[in-house]
Structures are given as structure tokens and as C-alpha cells.
């Protein structure tokens, strides 16, 4: 256990250093910063019932999770009644096998995909490509990331880390062989070029794979929410439609859907409603002119079922809006790729260790300032920062943290339990720090803490501690 944890620690720190020094990334993140936050705040202020709806959204999700086995069975039964098929996958490999088999049976050569984080979680694309299929991401952000050979860096804005200049170069490189030889630089022209290239893919695809924002037990439907319409073309044009979803995505009824939709778009992009919210229920009906002949749903567990009933169960309420990423100072400084897996930011720092173990993610719960904004903005009120503390506690107890750190923490705990001694000992660094920095007003360097002060200044503490000042006041 020690070796991978240590190498992972080095890898995480190296990724953060790379991210902080990556000028393109920093330019792109600076441009994005604040936009989502302002828009969400405006949307929230325009809806006085917003907090009450968040409570209702949380309650719906809690109710489902407490009865998840039954709701999954009720949902499955309805999908069957609609003429669809439900497949269950314990882990990513099993899910990939199921999907690859469906595609092979359909004789698929081209597979289009709407945005699906669960398919990223499965590492689906390489599996289908190895089976000889051409896989095309159709969400513009996912498409850009696919051309770059990368993974999404944000769960709703996959290419948030790319500058327009980088996108220009990617399109020029990949579209020139298709006859688009001009180098386009304007946003409108870039969007038009992608639209034109992807149109041919949409109509030639044999299988379409989408995710699901929600699954509805009442009707056996999957719901997708997009602004581009790519998910709908993916769901409707190919002869086979495959839906991928985590088992926690099921909700009871259409009325429950309304509650969740009212907080989803507002939390994600600050929109009241996304351009397209679609509810699909099974394959085409006998008289229909179009629509898939086969409709499959692949339900992925991958560790979710073991999160139920414990302290991390509320994480399964997550509706993947991305608000916690947008409001996280750490995420906005380092971007999504530094987190090392497909779920970044606060929700990723909680979820990744639960799904993958601490081996590859031991630093994630510690790369957090505990400012609590993630918890404040979560539309389903997941106590994200509390869960990060929970992870830290577990790491400490399982001795996954560094031995030096643990020793310092133990010494501090020993001292803190002895108030008189604590105050006496702490007066010394306080006095030193004050003497050292009171002229400049800040401490630019601290002995042994250059890692901290290299990018930050430390405020100069007052000469006497709060306790001392209090005691003096009491006396007078």
C-alpha cells in the first residue's frame, strides 16, 4: 500500500506544479473564472423558492436511496414494458463488455456519443476502438477534448481548459484532411465547422450512446439535459440507442423530475432551463417514421452500492451539476486534470477515493482549504467539505498520511490538551513572528514553510494571543 500512495503523492504534486505553470491552462481558467458563479447567483436570486426546492430535491434523492433496490426494480419493469432492455454491470469492465457486445451485434462501424461521465468512468472509448469501431464524441466540448487525446477537465464544460487558439489548431489539424483547409479563429466559425463535420457523423452512426441525467421509475425513461441538441440526435438517429447510467440516477416520478430540473440548470450554468430537456422511453413505436429499433440501458454499480447506509451515502445524491467545481478556489487554480481522474473538484475529491480507493487519490481530500463553498452551493445539499474531513480522518487512522505529519499532529494534540502549557509554548512563535513582520505588515518567508510562502504571504499575528488579550481585558 505504501509504494503506490507515495508515488501517487509525488504524481499529484507534480501535476499541480505543471498546472500552475501551464500558461494556456491559466489563461483559459482565468477567462472562465467567475462566469458560472455570477450566473448561478443571478438565477438563484431570481427564484425566491430556490432553497426550498433544494430541500425538496435532497429529500427526493434521500427517499430513493433508502429504497434504491425497489426503485431499480420498478424502473426495470417499466423499461421492459416500453420494449427496452436493462443490463446490470458490477464494474467498468463488465459495462464495457456489455456495450461492446451490443455494438458488435448491431454490426456497428460508427458510434456517436452524447456526453456521458459514466462512460468516461468505464473507459469505454478505447474498448470500442479496439473492437474496430470509430467512436465520435458529439458534445462540442467532449469533441475538442477527444481531438486533443485528453479527458474532460470539467464535468459539464469538458474543454474549459482550452483556449480558442488551441481549438483553432486542433480543428485545423483534424479537419484539413476532410477539406476544411482554412484556419478558422472566430468562435462562430469554429462552432459552424464542428457542426458541419459532426452532421455527417450523426447521420452515418449505427449506434448512439448517451448518459442519463435521470432515470424515471414511473415511466421507464431516461432524461438528458443539453444545450446543443447533440444528445438528442444521438438518441434518435442511429438504429440502436444505448443509455449508460449509475444506479443512483433513478428517481420516482415526473413530478420529482420537475423539482430536480429546477435546481440542475440554475446550479450548473445559471440558466432557468437548458435548451433541451428530453425524456426517452424505449425504442421506436410501430408507426413511427424514425427512432432507434433497439433501446438498451446499462446500469453501472462500480462501488456505489457499498456507499449506501454509511457516512458517504449523501454523495450518491449528486446530480453532476458542477457547481462545487465552479466555486472551488483549488479547482479554479489547478483545473480538472490535476485531480488525476475524471471527477475533479470537491465532488471528485470525495467520490474518487470511494470508487477507486486511496491508492491513487490519497492527496485529493487534503487539496482543500475547507472554505465550505462547495457545501453551500450544492443543489442537493451534500456536505462535501465534511466528507473531505471524514476522508482525512480515515487516512490518519489508517496511517496513510506522512509519518512526520502524523507525529507533528500527535505532538500538537498532546499540547492542545494542556491549555496552560499550550499558551506558554505558543507565545514564543507568536512573539517571534510579530517581531519579525510587524514593520512590513506581512510575512513573506517562514523558516521551513517555503512551500507555503512561495506563493502566499502570511498575515502578521498580534503580539499577544487572543487568550492573553481576553485575560487582560477581564482584569481591567
Amino acid at each position: 500500500m505504501n509504494a503506490p500512495v507515495n508515488s501517487q503523492r509525488v504524481a499529484f504534486k507534480a501535476r499541480v506544479r505543471t498546472a500552475l505553470g501551464d500558461l494556456n491552462l491559466q489563461r483559459a481558467m482565468a477567462k472562465a473564472r467567475g462566469g458560472f458563479v455570477d450566473k448561478r447567483r443571478e438565477a438563484r436570486e431570481a427564484l425566491p423558492e430556490f432553497d426550498a426546492i433544494r430541500d425538496a430535491a435532497r429529500d427526493i434523492k434521500d427517499h430513493v436511496l433508502a429504497n434504491l433496490d425497489s426503485y431499480l426494480e420498478l424502473y426495470e419493469q417499466k423499461v421492459r414494458e416500453n420494449g427496452g432492455h436493462v443490463h446490470w454491470a458490477r464494474d467498468a469492465d463488465e459495462a464495457c463488455r456489455i456495450i461492446a457486445d451490443i455494438c458488435k451485434k448491431a454490426g456497428a462501424r460508427t458510434v456517436t456519443k452524447g456526453k456521458s461521465m459514466v462512460s468516461e468512468e468505464m473507459y469505454l472509448n478505447p474498448v470500442l476502438e479496439a473492437a474496430g469501431m470509430k467512436v465520435v464524441e458529439t458534445d462540442l466540448g467532449e469533441y475538442i477534448v477527444q481531438l486533443a487525446g485528453e479527458t474532460p477537465s470539467h464535468i459539464i464544460a469538458p474543454a474549459v481548459h482550452k483556449t480558442r487558439e488551441q481549438i483553432t489548431e486542433l480543428f485545423h489539424e483534424h479537419h484539413s484532411p476532410l477539406g476544411y483547409t482554412d484556419r478558422v479563429t472566430q468562435r462562430e466559425a469554429l462552432v459552424n465547422e464542428a457542426r458541419s463535420v459532426l452532421r455527417d457523423r450523426f447521420v452515418s452512426a449505427d449506434v448512439g450512446i448517451t448518459g442519463a441525467n435521470f432515470l424515471i421509475a414511473e415511466t421507464g425513461s431516461n432524461v438528458i439535459v443539453t444545450n446543443e441538441g447533440n444528445g438528442d440526435l444521438t438518441s434518435s438517429l442511429p438504429k440502436v440507442h444505448i443509455v449508460t447510467a449509475g444506479i443512483e440516477k433513478v428517481i420516482p416520478s415526473l413530478e420529482d423530475l420537475s423539482v430536480l430540473l429546477r435546481v440542475l440548470a440554475r446550479s450548473a450554468t445559471g440558466q432557468e432551463f437548458s435548451a433541451y430537456t428530453s425524456i426517452y422511453s424505449g425504442p421506436r413505436r410501430s408507426e413511427d417514421l424514425e427512432g432507434p429499433e433497439e433501446y438498451h440501458v446499462v446500469l453501472l454499480d462500480n462501488g456505489r452500492s457499498t456507499m449506501l447506509g454509511g457516512v458517504y451515502q449523501p454523495m450518491l445524491r449528486c446530480i453532476r451539476c458542477g457547481a462545487c467545481l465552479n466555486h472551488c478556489p483549488v479547482y479554479s487554480a489547478i483545473g480538472g486534470h490535476a485531480y488525476g481522474w475524471i471527477y475533479p473538484g470537491p465532488m471528485g475529491s470525495v467520490l474518487t477515493p470511494l470508487l477507486n480507493g486511496f491508492d491513487d487519490s490519497v492527496d485529493l481530500p487534503n487539496a482543500c482549504t475547507l472554505n465550505g463553498r462547495c457545501k453551500e452551493v450544492c443543489p442537493v445539499r451534500i456536505p462535501l467539505s465534511d466528507m473531505l474531513l471524514e476522508h482525512r480522518l480515515e487516512q490518519h487512522q489508517r496511517k496513510l498520511t506522512s509519518p512526520v505529519g502524523r507525529r507533528i499532529l500527535s505532538a500538537w494534540a498532546w499540547l492542545a490538551k494542556r491549555p496552560r502549557l499550550y499558551q506558554g509554548v505558543m507565545a514564543i512563535p507568536l512573539w517571534l513572528a510579530h517581531r519579525w513582520g510587524h514593520k512590513a505588515g506581512v510575512l513573506r518567508r517562514l523558516p521551513g514553510l517555503s512551500g507555503w510562502t512561495d506563493s502566499r504571504d502570511f498575515p502578521v499575528p498580534p503580539r499577544r494571543s487572543f487568550m492573553r488579550q481576553w485575560q487582560d481585558k477581564e482584569r481591567t
Binding site: 425538496a56 434504491l68 425497489s70 475538442i144 446543443e228 433541451y276 428530453s278 425504442p283
Partner: protein, 217 residues
Amino acid sequence: MSDARSQILATIRRSLNGGEPKTDQRIEELRSRLRHTSPKVQPHLDDDPLSRFCIKHAAVHGTYERLAFEQIEEGVQRHLRSVGVDPQFCLGGGPLLDQVKWSDEVFPYRRSADKDTRVAVSEAFAGVSETGTLVMRSAPSVPPSHNFLPDDHIVLLQKERILRWQEDVWTLLRAENVFPPRAVNFVTGPSKTGDIEQTIQYGAHGPRRLHVLIIES
């Protein structure tokens, strides 16, 4: 496959309540919750649904015109002239649309849209004033491709079909012969993307323009 199914369900039950499956009574309670579902918290709305729909629809870059039934073709032609497109289009169906007698100045054809389709004319199942949303319910004469492939989408909406809240749509849908239909598409403004520099650009994959004809007679 069934192996995975029973194993996942067993793990869920073990995590939740020590492995016990739900009693028949509990499952019946859940089924009954589904049958007797009702709106939870809704935004407070007391404005006139028609004017709210128009304001919300315009706010998401949609355009509209209020017309009498007899003026439908005129409205379609006016929009197509304004964007400089020939009056030929994919035609959907619906209670209003099926009754329109088109003149020989326009060329409607009834089929699925394809990648070169320039215009589709459809009729909405309903409108939602809460968010300025059109509800397109799929049927043999209402193929979803009409909502997503053309550059211009012209949608008829009967004034009486403009509902206040989203939940009102569920009530109407449940009253139809076929429920659930294969597709229900909620459409709120033209297609757009913010994936390049987080700046909104219209006409991502779907219609670049969404024009609603509100029929008031």
C-alpha cells in the same frame, strides 16, 4: 447478466438494511407513491401565462408572432422571407397543422428531417410559461428529427395549450392514449453551446433560430 443483477441488488440490500428485501407492503407503498404523485415545491407564478411565455421565450433568443389560424401560412412565409430561405419545409402534424390548407406558393413535405433539411414546421403539444418552453411530444407525424436538424424551426402553439408550470405538462401527457410516448422534447430557445471560452454561441447542432407562431383564434 442476471448474476450481476442479483449481486448488485443484494449489495444494496446489505448496505441499507442488513440484506432484507423490501416487504410486499413497502413495495406497494412505493407503487402507490408513483400512482398518486403530485407537485412538490413550485415557484410562485401569478402572471398571465401567455405574456409570461412570450417574455421568457424572447429571453432565450426565441422569436414569436401572435396570429389567427387563417394567417399561419402568411406567418411561415414571413419568417422564411426574413431569413432569405425558399418556402419548402418538412411538415409535422397536430390538431392545428393538419387543418392548414397550404397554397401552391409553398412546398411542404411530410418526412423525417435529414442533414440538409433547412426548415421544419411543427406543432407543439404544449407550452410552459414558467420557462418559455415548448413541449414536443413524438408521434408518427411528429418526428423528433424536426426539432433538432433544421436551421430554422417554426413551431405552432395554441394559446390555450400554454400551461403555467412544468408539472401541468405531466397531467396532460398522462391523459393521452399513448403514455409514455417514445420522446418528449422540452425545447427552450435555439440550440447553443458555451464550450468555446464559456461564451454562448447559437446554432451548435440544432436549429439556429426558433420561431413560434402563437395561434389565438
